[in-house]
């Protein structure tokens, strides 16, 4: 193994040797970040999430529990351990097996960051978002995000997020265009995505 490592590094150095004298600049212009911020990131976020055929609703802080109840009526739900709302029809994530996860109808989680320009929610799987598998196996994902978590664009999100944490960036429900370029919502991930934006 280390023979391969040494040989590859040796090849790289040999390949670059003739260029050693040329300028090897380490300055990368970040002028691409100089853009006008959207006037109203929250409404842009709502518009862009809806563009992906996801359901998106604005709800007041007092109305969140009712909104979750309405979206999960009659469903068997799983929730992460730190979700701050109580659900009568939910089980708390207790490291159920993959097969057990497959028996749940829906999952309810928080989010870490929302990106207005692309309509993206980012989970970094902290306490109110749960481990990755719970937001993947059930067929419906209800995701709750506060307006103060919504940033303008991708650079702002990258700046806020911690790369040491596993992340899932979600832009609408899973989708494919592999058959005659016809878009089909819902393949392997949750086929329904509901985003509740709490103001």
């Amino acid at each position: 193994m280390s023979a391969a490592r040494d040989e590859i590094l040796g090849r790289v150095r040999a390949a670059l040797a003739p260029s050693a004298k040329t300028e090897r600049s380490r300055v990368i212009s970040r002028s691409y970040r100089d853009v006008t911020a959207p006037a109203d990131p929250v409404s842009l976020f709502v518009e862009r999430v809806a563009d992906y055929q996801a359901t998106v609703r604005l709800v007041s802080a007092a109305g969140v529990a009712d909104a979750i109840a309405a979206e999960t009526e009659g469903m068997h739900c799983i929730v992460p351990v730190d979700l701050p709302w109580d659900l009568s029809n939910a089980e708390i994530d207790d490291f159920q097996s993959n097969d057990e996860l497959d028996t749940f109808d829906a999952v309810v989680t928080g989010a870490q960051v929302g990106i207005a320009e692309t309509g993206t929610i980012v989970l970094d799987h902290q306490g109110d978002q749960g481990r990755r598998a719970i937001t993947l196996v059930p067929d419906r994902h209800i995701c709750i995000i506060r307006t103060d978590q919504i940033v303008a664009g991708v650079p702002e999100a990258i700046a806020e997020l911690n790369p040491q944490r596993a992340q899932t960036w979600i832009s609408g429900p899973s989708a494919t265009s592999d058959i005659e370029l016809t878009r089909v919502e819902g393949v392997h991930g949750p086929r329904r995505l509901v985003v509740l934006v709490v103001y």
């Binding site: 212009s29 862009r48 598998a133 990258i158």
Partner: protein
């Protein structure tokens, strides 16, 4: 199992065959047209697109010009994050490493998320030789695999298949690979997608080991990134106990902040979306979340050869978006298979010769000529790879590598031209001859109303075989000038 590209004929003959396939041409024209339009719309939305391209190119160049340092940094941060790092000089070594990991865990099947690198090294076939089934989980890759077929596009590999064929493939082949297709399966795309969901869910649930590639590998944090649409990637990256990622050494970006360029340019260039449905990032092993054994195979397999080419090196900036395929008038007509490689289109026409070397086989040497040098690929490239310039450079290298042998048709024609243009007497002879030819072809041309010559005899014939040459005029310019004094 899917087929392989080994033994494909050179581009001109493969292209001629592809051009006879009406369905392929129709599907491709439709697909490339639709994606081109979507891309243009979402790129136009971005005010600073050009700055993003320049930054993307600069970040990748920075990595390439210090690749040894970044590889060592990536290895250290991956190791610190709990991943095991392996190095593979070539395809054989990479397949051996992945196969050994599978053997260590006594698995006889792995699930795979679509990865160009694992296709490049022929991993599925190599694992099959060791009795390990590798299941493709991307819908299009599943169609290709079940149909024992070859992919025709990086992004939509089964674009050459229509919905009826896909239904038939599912009905015929799903049962032998696992869960059979549902009874009464129709050709409705939603029904077909659901059939793949049911078929693959069984595999995701029981798989102990997954194999992925990575779109990006962040040197300073050891973070790998996979960009996808269907959720099969999330399944593979999350549910199995063991995860092996095969990563080309050029996939590195220096730091986490650099992703703010590529996570803007890749989805817009690739599928024409503001953002792809799912992006997963992970740094080694996460406590109680996802695979608890994580391997990363750093793959050379010709990349250092490409790196040594000072003109061609920029091809290693490629982020596999496929925008150049959709922009290319040659690709639009021939499709991806004619390029005889997992990397088709304009980027394939430079990446293959750069990674494999020229003067080795006829197929690879034919690829730099599979272009009209129109430059559309360069215009749409999100990392500003000057593909036309690299094509021209590679044509020179191909010609140079064949020096010493018999001159080919083009060489002979150029040698003839050198004599003709070299002094006035031979030139007048040529003009006189074509003038006569023009007068001879005149009456014929009048009868068949042909504006183009299809068949040219002699040395120029091979060149003219793929091109229409304007019909010769009735008289030469010199004769016309002499007759009219330029007054007509």
């Amino acid at each position: 199992m899917s087929g392989t590209f080994v033994g494909m004929p050179a581009f001109p003959s493969a292209a001629r065959e592809a051009l006879q396939d009406d369905q392929l041409r129709r599907n491709l024209a439709n697909a490339t047209g639709v994606i081109r339009t979507k891309r243009a719309e979402v790129v136009d939305e971005v005010d600073n697109w050009e700055e993003l391209r320049v930054a993307g190119a600069a970040i990748k160049d920075e990595v390439l010009l210090h690749l040894d340092e970044y590889l060592i940094e990536l290895e250290a941060s991956l190791t610190a994050a709990g991943a095991a790092v392996h190095w593979a000089r070539d395809a054989d070594e990479a397949c051996q490493i992945v196969g050994d990991i599978a053997a260590d865990h006594e698995v006889d099947e792995v699930v795979k998320v679509k990865s160009m690198a694992t296709q490049e090294i022929g991993l599925n076939e190599r694992l099959a030789q060791r009795g390990i089934s590798a299941w493709e989980t991307d819908l299009a890759e599943l169609i290709v695999q079940l149909g024992d077929d070859l992919p025709s596009h990086i992004l939509v590999p089964a674009i050459h298949r229509n919905r009826d064929e896909i239904r038939d493939i599912f009905v015929e082949s799903m049962a032998s690979a696992g869960k059979p297709a549902p009874d009464g399966l129709t050709n409705d795309p939603a029904a077909l997608a659901n059939a793949s969901r049911l078929h693959l869910r069984e595999k995701f649930m029981r798989a102990k080991m997954a194999v992925s590639g990575a779109n990006f590998a962040v040197a300073d944090t050891g973070t790998l990134v996979v960009v996808e649409s269907e959720g099969n990637g999330r399944m593979c990256l999350t549910l199995p106990e063991v995860l092996v990622s095969v990563v080309g050494i050029e996939k590195i970006v220096p730091s986490w902040e650099d992703l703010d360029v590529f996570l803007q340019t890749l989805p817009r260039s690739s599928t024409g979306e503001r953002m792809n449905p799912y992006t997963s990032t992970w740094s080694g092993v996460n406590d109680a979340d996802g695979p608890q054994e994580v391997h990363v195979v750093l793959l050379d397999n010709g990349r250092t050869r490409a790196l040594a080419d000072e003109v061609g090196r920029q091809a290693l900036r490629c982020i596999r978006c496929s925008a150049c395929l959709n922009a290319c008038p040659v690709y639009e007509r021939t499709g991806g298979k004619a390029y005889g490689s997992v990397y088709p289109g304009p980027i394939g026409a430079i990446l293959n010769p750069l990674m494999k070397g020229v003067g080795v086989d006829e197929q690879t040497d034919s690829l730099p000529y599979a272009s009209s040098l129109c430059g559309a690929c360069y215009d749409v490239c999100p990392v500003a790879i000057d593909i036309p310039s690299v094509l021209v450079e590679l044509r020179t290298q191909v010609v140079d590598s064949h020096r010493g042998g018999a001159p080919d048709a083009f060489g002979a024609a150029m040698a003839g031209a050198a004599v003709s243009f070299g002094s006035p007497l031979p030139w007048k002879t040529v003009v006189l001859a074509t003038g006569w030819a023009g007068r001879l072809s005149g009456p014929l041309a009048g009868r068949v109303r042909s504006s183009a010559l299809k068949n040219v005899p002699g040395a120029a014939g091979a060149w003219a075989g793929a091109r229409d040459i304007p019909a010769l005029p009735k008289e030469s310019f010199r004769a016309w000038m002499k007759r009219t004094g330029g007054q007509e």
